[in-house]
Symmetry: C2
Subunit: 383 residues, 2 copies
């Protein structure tokens, strides 16, 4: 149920002292092979942290031997010194696990704009390398937590092969430590190209559909490493399905753990002329602060849904829009439908369904409500 | 200092009983001429309220004799019945003030999706017509308030001619009654084309640059009516300057009155390759919930500014970005600049300055912080 669920992987987590709290803050994931095939996707933010730039470069040849991750500092917007720090983390890790630096990915999360305490980081890497174990997946997941209330792991089994994973973050709704880091592993024996396709397809409809507060991190990273240790080469479609299952599981855990949130909201757009239209409409609804406040207050305010839809370029006729909240079609043909007092919003999970009545495409975006706690946690201290 | 500051205009405001509170909720502005030239700009939301659709149509020939405005109900997403209601408001007003319905604009604000109580509205129109007066500008401004804490009026004087105006709304930060309505008047003797150019130029850099919470209304309307009563035809540039001054004054009043907000934030983008780039960057910063929370907490968190800039398509080099908060350049060359503890954020007004170092264009966006009060006011009751 973690990155060490798949054969051929070791992991560990330690307290390096990067965080002032004394909580674990440095993790390693090592691929013992025989394969070193890997793929990754990174934030589309144009302001990219030094470790993202490094890892992108390391992945260019489709191979990774290890990943070093730290919480307690994002190493973003840290200038040439930060670039050196990311490189040094890779080099120290390579030395400790007998790999080459160009095959080590680096992931960091925490406050933007502050240099990492590199003496502690390098000591931490040495200590983590000592603890590497085939049972280390759980402690690695713990060490990458920032404001996460629980650590997040998942796994999916194929026929004689496995996909495992861990994640940190709560979309961007976590108070400011605004990063999603995900490491996935598999013991399937597949090429980097197959991994890349499987990962992109899985991320496109899972992590890319989580939009808790519309804020995009400088550090988001999702990596997939394959050891080949099972000696099984699955059908690419089966691999994609398993990677998708793990990503979906972790994505739901992120939304469920979004700090400050009291509702998990699924925005389901159907009847769209294209998937792009459905995603645009879903995202505009998921990002609408007025609607997120209304749902927090358990008010089925469909007018705010229509206002949000109206800001998009999707194909629709305003007089032919239908909106259901928790299954009650409160808006029909762009105006009042069933009575809004039929809607029960007392549960933590809420579904908003929009039928654009313009085609057969659909998409689901997961988000959270906007709460006073969110404001408090993101304003009460620097993060 | 209101819509009756210009000669040739009458106005009034009454309690029609549309609002449950018993506060004034219906206003008239009447142009007694001799000219009836007019111009308008409307929400770019594709879901448009019935009165917006009606007024757009009424303005097609560049003439308006009167404007009828109500608070207490937006008449948006109300189907064919709502369309009939808007038409009836124009017809009743035309009859009461001796005009033709096609020269009467209609503006409504309040909850989306609910039909107006038309019996009260029509009685209110008759009562308001009785009260029309050259001193009625203030009471008209009061009658269009929703959650505004104060009514908003402004005026600018030319040489023997005047521009006056009134506004309601607090961007979209007002708790849910999410509409900006503005009526401007002038006694200058100018054509509808000249009015249209002056209005568009003025709105582009004032109301269009207010972005308190990124939510766009279905009802936003800005109208400019000219009576020609001064018999003066000013230079178009002078007229534009006066209209701009009134719009800027009213726009600042909207931001200052944004309910739930504790800070007025000016996002100033300089060094942009184009004005469009500057606006895109300014808006992305103004809409970033994490930054708005940080500024609420008086935390000069420039990392969140850079994260927001990174989501745009503007021209910039991430390693050459400079950010100042209240004049302190906390970010230089995309990394740490002057110490953040030099920044004093205790005042209500905050300026965030971004230098993209990519050209000579600039733009300013006005916004507010994100507060627990905003969440409370937008979640505690249906609006």
């Amino acid at each position: 149920m973690s990155v060490t669920a798949a054969q051929g992987f070791l992991a560990s987590g330690v307290t390096a002292g990067i965080k002032e709290s004394g909580d674990p803050d440095l993790a390693l994931v090592v691929n013992r092979g025989p394969s070193r095939a890997a793929a990754g996707v990174f934030t589309s933010n144009r302001v990219q942290a030094a470790p993202v730039r490094w890892s992108r470069h390391a992945l260019a040849d489709g191979r990774l031997s290890a990943v070093v991750l730290n919480s307690g500092g994002a190493n973003a917007c840290t200038g040439p010194g930060g670039t050196e720090d990311a490189r040094e983390m890779a080099e120290r890790t390579a030395r400790a696990v007998d790999a080459v630096p160009g095959e080590v990915a680096v992931c960091s999360t925490g406050l933007i704009g502050i240099r990492l305490p590199m003496d502690r980081v390098t000591d931490g890497i040495a200590a983590a390398a000592e603890r590497l174990s085939p049972e280390g997946g759980e402690e690695a997941a713990v060490a990458i937590k920032t404001t996460d209330s629980v650590h997040k792991t998942a796994a999916a089994a194929g026929a004689d092969w496995t996909v495992g994973g861990m994640a940190k973050g709560a979309g961007m709704l976590a108070p400011g430590l605004a990063t999603m880091l995900v490491v996935l592993t598999t013991d399937a024996d597949v090429s980097a190209d197959v991994l890349d396709s499987a990962l992109r397809e899985a991320v496109r409809t899972t992590f890319d559909r989580v939009d808790s507060d519309g804020c995009m991190s400088t550090n988001d990273t999702v990596l997939l490493l394959a050891s080949g240790a099972s000696r099984v080469t699955p059908d690419p479609a089966d691999l994609t399905a398993a990677v998708h299952a793990v990503c979906q599981d972790l994505a739901r855990q992120l939304v469920a753990d979004a700090e400050g949130a009291s509702k998990e909201i699924e925005v389901e757009v159907v009847g769209a002329a294209s998937e792009a239209d459905a995603v645009e409409v879903g995202r505009s609804i998921a990002r609408n602060n007025l609607l997120k406040c209304a749902l927090h207050g358990e008010d089925p305010n469909w007018g705010r849904v229509l206002s949000a839809i109206g800001t998009t370029s999707a194909r629709f006729d305003p007089d032919l829009l239908d909106v259901a909240i928790n299954g009650v079609w409160v808006c029909r043909d762009g105006s009042e439908g069933e009575p809004r007092d039929k809607v029960d919003l007392s549960d933590r999970r809420i579904t908003v369904t929009v039928d654009l009545r313009s085609g057969d495409s659909r998409a689901t975006i997961w988000t959270n409500d906007l709460t006073a706690e969110y404001v408090h946690e993101n304003s009460a201290y620097s993060s």
